[in-house]
């Protein structure tokens, strides 16, 4: 088990390196430079700027310099926010993004699993059909549609909740974005839980548990939950990635000053070091969280653990 985890950790290194190379090349292949402006700058000044940011060096050299910085946790200076380094920008934006992502994830897991289990226990009832219909809808509607609709309905029309971050200090300010972000995941996890729970409940060892006179609650909690969660746990990797990408959209729509918003701004402003930094940061995050999921999986399934 320990060896398995270490092996996965070792594999993460080349994966991450590949991401860095690809992202670096793609950013450099993008048309236009960060300092292109409507009015052309005098050539001497342009050369000066290029030299200051090492843009005059050959690509491999630039990459080596960049990689060296990344290894020290330095993603270079931002081209647009002149007084900040990319690391500082990301660092400042992380807390609110993390809060948003973690809350959305927690909400998705809790609600998704509860609804899925309930639907499995009432298989083919009206409640089950209603929930699965809703889930299908939830999966089909993308975040960038849900979010504006939420704003329109809850903030503009009903005026229950604030529409945007800025100027509001209410504790509720994260509610709408979290729900908008979590909704498709709730739907997906609910369907996944229902399917795997139904399968587990049909297995021989559940029949044994019933023969032992355990109540439904005890059967779910002590016998069925763990095996039923394995497929859900496998989905956590993709779910994390989906929440991260979703957060880019949601932060922009709700005006939340998180990493995602910086990413969008960075892309629009051709702030390439910022974009590159965020891509690498997110990639590292996804790899790390997937690693944790894998290890957790081993802990849930004793047959894997003892291999």
């Amino acid at each position: 088990m320990l060896r398995f985890a270490l092996l996965r950790l070792l594999w993460a290194i080349p994966t991450l390196l590949l991401v860095i190379v690809l992202a670096f090349l793609m950013v450099h292949a993008a048309p236009g430079g960060p300092f292109d402006a409507e009015r052309a700058l005098p050539p001497e000044i342009e050369a000066n700027i290029a030299r200051a940011y090492h843009l005059d060096e050959a690509l491999p050299q630039q990459f080596a310099r960049y990689l060296g910085g990344v290894l020290r946790g330095d993603f270079g200076p931002s081209y647009r926010y002149r007084d900040y380094s990319v690391s500082e920008l990301i660092g400042n934006a992380i807390p609110v993004s993390m809060k948003l992502g973690a809350l959305a994830m927690a909400l998705a897991v809790l609600v998704g699993i509860s609804l899925g289990t309930l639907a499995a226990l009432r298989q083919n009832s009206a409640l089950d059909r209603l929930m699965m219909g809703l889930a299908m809808t939830g999966i089909s509607i993308p975040v960038f549609v849900i979010a504006p609709l939420f704003i329109l309905f809850f903030a503009v029309k009903l005026q229950w909740l604030p529409a945007s971050w800025s100027g509001s200090t209410s504790a509720w300010r994260l509610l709408l974005p979290v729900v908008a972000l979590a909704l498709p995941q709730i739907a997906y996890i609910a369907r996944l839980t229902r399917a795997s729970m139904i399968e587990v409940l049909g297995s021989d060892f559940i029949r044994t548990a019933r023969a032992q006179g355990l109540g439904t609650a005890a059967i779910i909690r002590y016998h069925a939950m763990k095996p039923a969660m394995l497929p859900v746990l496998s989905y956590m990797g993709p779910a994390i990635a989906a929440i991260l990408t979703g957060s880019v959209v949601v932060e922009e729509i709700f005006g939340i000053p998180g990493v995602g918003q910086f990413f969008v701004r960075g892309a629009l402003n051709r702030d390439y070091t910022l974009v590159l930094g965020i891509v690498i940061f997110y990639a590292a995050l996804v790899i790390l969280l997937n690693l944790i999921v894998d290890v957790l999986y081993g802990f849930l399934d004793p047959r894997i653990r003892h291999r």
Binding site: D204, T208, R210, Q212, L214, G215, A218, Y222, H223, R303
Partner: protein, 592 residues
Amino acid sequence: MSLLEISGLSISYPGSAAVLDRLSFVIEKGESLGLVGESGSGKTQTALAIMGLLPTNARVAGGVVFDGTELLGQPERMLNLYRTRRMGIVFQDPMSALNPYVRIGAQLNRILLEHGLASDDEADSRSLEMLRLVGLPDVERQFRSYPHQLSGGMRQRVMIAAALIGKPDLLIADEPTTALDVTVQAQILGLLRGLRHEFNTALLLITHDLGVVAGNCERMIVLKDGKLIEEGMTPQIFAEPVHPVTRAMLAAARRSDFLARSHERTPKDQTPVLEIEGLAVSYAVPGERRSRKRLPAVQQLTMTIAPGETVALVGESGSGKTSLARAIVGLLPVQSGSMVLLGKPLTGRVESRPNALRRAVQMVFQDPVGSLNPAMRVDDIITEPLTVHEPDKIKANKDEVVAAMLRRVGLDDALKKRFPHELSGGQAQRVAIARALVLKPKILICDEAVAALDGSIRQDILELLRAEQQQSGLSLLFITHDLTTVRQISHRVLVMYLGRLCELADTESLFMRPKHPYTKALLDAVPIADPAIGIIVASDLGEAPSMLQPPSGCAFHPRCPYSISRCSEELPELQDFKKSSAACHRAAELAL
């Protein structure tokens, strides 16, 4: 008042005939009742109905009255008052019946806690005590183990512990030993007998094996197609069965009691078709591929098969019998030693062997339906091997070949367009045999080929194989754990233990005068279908040791009642006797 009163119990499912038809019987307090029948006779449905575990789409009528209370149609909440505390059940397959994700101890504790039979502090010690009672060794460690870390016999002990932990009045055991080796079966049955008396529990023992009933049940009932056809005291039914079906079942069980082939001239003196000498086979341990640890599955094995001879290969699971078969057909690499087939060396994997040698050895497996290609029809399945070996010939006269093969294995021509899942188990096994025979092999390896079949169908298949052998001089290598089958079909028997040959003997001499203590232990473990003989109390052998760390000297010595100090130090050589040879230091002096 009886403990359990079943009256007019009928069960049916939408779209099919009734699986149980107005069944009535009673179980008195503390008595043991055998419920006998072939698969599909409604035995398990009866057990599930008593426990209230039938699927929700089952239509049930009649009555199940437990200690004066009607249980049918009661809500779960009410049934849960009876389960564990008043009645418990042991299922056939302890691997799937125990939760693989939960430690053994936690599974037992949960039962106690849920029923308020123990407080949080007491639960551990109560569960441990119960595990000790069912004879689990090294209880503290097993308590923290997961089911897959235990052997089949150990798991079944845990199942029994779970079923008896609430000291119920009734224990239902549904084929509790069918999935286990004979030696383990004898232990589990002995355990059930002992515990039943200790707890004064009534027992409903469900089985297809009349031998199991004979030694364990005072009274018995026989089911056929969901109907009760015979009921009475066990000795009486064995002595004077009334219903023709019961009579046939008893006859089938007893047919094994005379040596069907002992009168036949054994063909072993002719030039052998297959000669194996000093064979060693090993394979990589699953999950330990990196460490290159190899499991010695077969070691130093020497044997021959003559044309027209049947050699039975016997041993517990893990004895290496299947590995030997796989090496012969070329599915496992040979480590050392030699095999000679039809005078030519048999080496390498199956793909690298010359065609003539490849088709000379064919195999039939345990699960007939599963071993046939589900997407092919019977006629294509039968001729498929020929399309590889004789493509031109088969194109021209496929219909003739199919018709001839079907006739040969006793199947109706109308079946040729069926798919495997549309066949019964017996029919599918006949198709598998036809598929193997179409290549005119010299040796047919049957790997537990009749183990999954019911009594009468099993007899038919054995009869077919025997007839085939007499006609074409086919040699059979018959791998089985069932000694009654061995007795009926084989000329010689090869007993294996932990990858080594223990005894190789003529069938008669093996059963009458076993030379190796392990052979004796296997023979003693077989339940005898005669209540008058009663139970031969087999010495409790305990569990087979792991092949990864085989014991020193004679591998059987830790379990051998006759072992002496020499046994643990020195590997016994194979000694020849009149009609057998055995690898035991004391084979000459012991009278077993």
